[in-house]
């Protein structure tokens, strides 16, 4: 009699342990990879590799040399590097920078590009994604400056 009770108890314990392991295994990856808002923003910005965000589409002139009229494109990479391609004085110039992201408030994500800090905002529309780099006004008399970028949906 005692032996049967002990066997049943051991079976229940084993079953409970098995359910615990299964449920832990199912929940842990969700919790571990859910990511913070800053990580999510970084993924929006660069994806797994890199993403190009256009401030102004670069307009190129026909010709042998790389002449251009205007344009500015930011290429964010997941290794936290940033390539800025700009049309300056009719020539396309490329400069390398570094970026990082942090949460600076309950709903604020701040991106730092070579030490210059901007609030980061995203918006999704039917055909494209938009992103804003914002310099928030320090007082009511100074303007809040938004630099707006876009990229087409994949």
């Amino acid at each position: 009699m005692n032996c049967a009770v002990s066997l049943r108890a051991r079976l229940w314990r084993g079953l409970a342990l098995k359910y615990f392991i299964i449920s832990f295994g199912a929940v842990w990856p969700v919790l571990a990879f859910a990511g913070s808002p800053a990580e999510e923003a970084a993924r929006n910005l660069s994806g797994d590799g890199s993403r190009e965000w256009t401030f102004k589409q670069i307009r190129k002139l026909m010709g042998a040399e790389q002449n251009c009229i205007e344009g500015e494109v930011y290429k964010f990479s997941s290794d936290k590097s940033l390539m800025i391609e700009q049309c300056l004085n009719g020539k396309i110039s490329q400069t390398k920078h570094v970026w990082s992201i942090e949460e600076t408030g309950p709903i604020d994500i701040t991106i730092s590009i070579d030490g210059s800090r901007y609030l980061l905002l995203f918006k999704e529309s039917d055909k494209s994604y938009s992103m804003r780099l914002r310099t928030l006004a320090e007082s009511k008399l100074t303007p809040t400056i938004d630099k707006e970028f876009s990229r087409p949906k994949d």
Binding site: G105, P106, I107, K140
Partner: protein, 161 residues
């Protein structure tokens, strides 16, 4: 000899005594005038301090009233989400933003006001959500609360007269 000496003393005392009396009276008058002047200066400084405190108290009460009014407007903006009334309340908020709040707000409240104002614009352009607006309203009201808890505006120190 003795008589002559006594007379000399009497003459000397007759001269010195009125001088001492006059000097005593003059010192008394000077003390009275100086005391009165000091009293006047003290009273003026007390009146000045009282005026400063009254002004600070009025400003603090005005600050409380404005903060309460802005908190109510922020609450209504959230409550009237999707309602036609929201537009009017936003206009009232903008009026407070560029109006009475400038008189009373401190730097932290000013920053919270700017954040809420910009969030309202973002919301209208599709860059924000109701939840973000709620968070900004919460931040604004918390900033107002901290400003009030920090005490009323201190009167500026002025030189005593």
């Amino acid at each position: 000899m003795e008589e002559a000496r006594k007379r000399d003393w009497d003459v000397a005392l007759g001269i010195v005594a009125p001088i001492v009396t006059v000097v005593g009276v003059l010192v008394g008058i000077w003390q009275f005038v100086a005391g009165e002047n000091h009293k006047v200066i003290l009273e003026q400084s007390l009146i000045q301090r009282k005026d400063d405190l009254d002004f600070a108290r009025k400003l603090w009460i005005e600050r409380m009233n404005q903060y309460r009014s802005v908190a109510e407007l922020a609450g209504k903006i959230i409550a009237y989400s999707g309602n036609t009334k929201q537009k009017d309340v936003i206009q009232d908020f903008v009026a407070a933003y560029w109006g009475a709040m400038i008189l009373v707000e401190d730097k932290e409240v000013e920053r919270a006001m700017i954040s809420f104002y910009v969030e309202l614009r973002d919301h209208s352009e599709g860059w924000s959500s109701d939840d973000r607006l709620k968070a900004r309203a919460d931040g604004l009201i918390a900033a107002c609360k901290r400003s009030v808890e920090g005490g009323g505006p201190k009167p500026e120190k002025r030189a005593l007269l």
